[in-house]
Symmetry: none
Subunit: 132 residues, 4 copies
């Protein structure tokens, strides 16, 4: 199954709803199975630097079919994927990027940026849950 | 007045509605007064190469506070802005990018890509009208 | 249907066979539906500058679901897509890139570079025919 | 002796065979003595982010005529080549890139990405062995 725009935008809006509950201002991006952007929203006043980070988190998550925070554990100094961030025109490997699955296959990913990595991940998870 | 996310997404959705009426598959982007991305949607099956073009059209339009087609007239061989596309990490100067104004001030821009430049401009204009 | 590696490499090898018949040295690239590289071969002595061009031709063709030469007709001075090459980190819009279809859907594309655009297109067409 | 396309593709295919034995999905790249791409294959379902990493591993290995894991030991914080990854449009310095030698001279390199660094290196070594 391919990700639809309706699903992608539904995920974005669930993320915005969760952000408002938590009193946060977020950038939320969704990519499809090809790691190509499908939907993006930036809440008023959200960090401008997080536009690119949200998009890169979504892409990074799809690039390796795992949550970005998992990659970040492996890219620390001395770990096996140290400096992987230099590939693919820049990866973002801290939490806030999560995969979207259907029948055990990754069909896209969500990236959230605008607050602490814990908050980013919480909002991304809420966005994912809305379409799972 | 600053462009709100609600307005930006409303413009995107008006563009999608118009695209469906015309049986087109579009990428639609909205940037704010700072030329920073606020909202983006890609319809299923829309050209992948138009993701970047829609965003660049929106940015180009806000960068110079005019519709992209106007800049394109000036960037032809022998004209005064020839090769301006080399600036700003790449401009797109054919129609499909339009400004958003409020009280005579440009507060953002819309970029549409996915079809002929006539169709792109028509959809961008419909998106703009929805929030004017 | 998704493009398989077997198909992609079969297309590459058909292109190499045709190149040898024509006494040419080519770079041949195949991308999948997401415009991501699947297979690439460079014949000994082929132009080094054509590595990137072959890959960009394949991507460009999938980005807009048409042969690259068709885009090139529209990107000339005064035409509607003038300077579109500035998008997507660089497009190549002269012949040599062709789409791969299955049941009327584009599932990938082939890019060939290393000789005249007529030869590039002829080799790309032979590669496409081998898997059509 | 210069690396031939036949050798390069033979290395790629040996890597794919080994990957299948190990039940892995890999991206495999081969560059020649000029560090320019000669052959590349991505197995269906292999990580999309590993396309660039496989190519960068092959280039990195040839750039410094050593296996990428050796460079990675020297690029850790406090070590002599710390942050060398910022050069050459991005290096990848963890295992999976190996040199190809002939008569004591480096004539190319292989890069593999798609799994753990141990698996990546094992597949790269199998690819190398097939043409040594």
């Amino acid at each position: 199954m391919k990700l639809t725009l309706e699903q992608a935008q539904k995920a974005v809006e669930a993320g915005i709803k969760k952000s408002k509950e938590l009193n946060l201002k977020m950038n939320i991006a969704v990519v499809d199975a090809g790691a190509n952007l499908m939907a993006f929203n930036r809440m008023e006043g959200a960090w401008l630097g997080s536009i690119d980070i949200a998009i890169k988190k979504a892409k990074t998550s799809r690039y390796f079919d795992m949550d970005t925070g998992e990659i970040g554990k492996l890219s620390q100094p001395g770990k096996s994927f140290f400096s992987i961030e230099h590939s693919n025109n820049g990866l973002i490997t801290f939490p806030g990027g999560v995969t979207i699955e259907h029948d055990g296959e990754v069909i896209g990913a969500i990236g959230v940026s605008g607050s602490s990595v814990e908050n980013d991940h919480q909002v991304a998870s809420a966005a994912k849950k809305a379409i799972s």
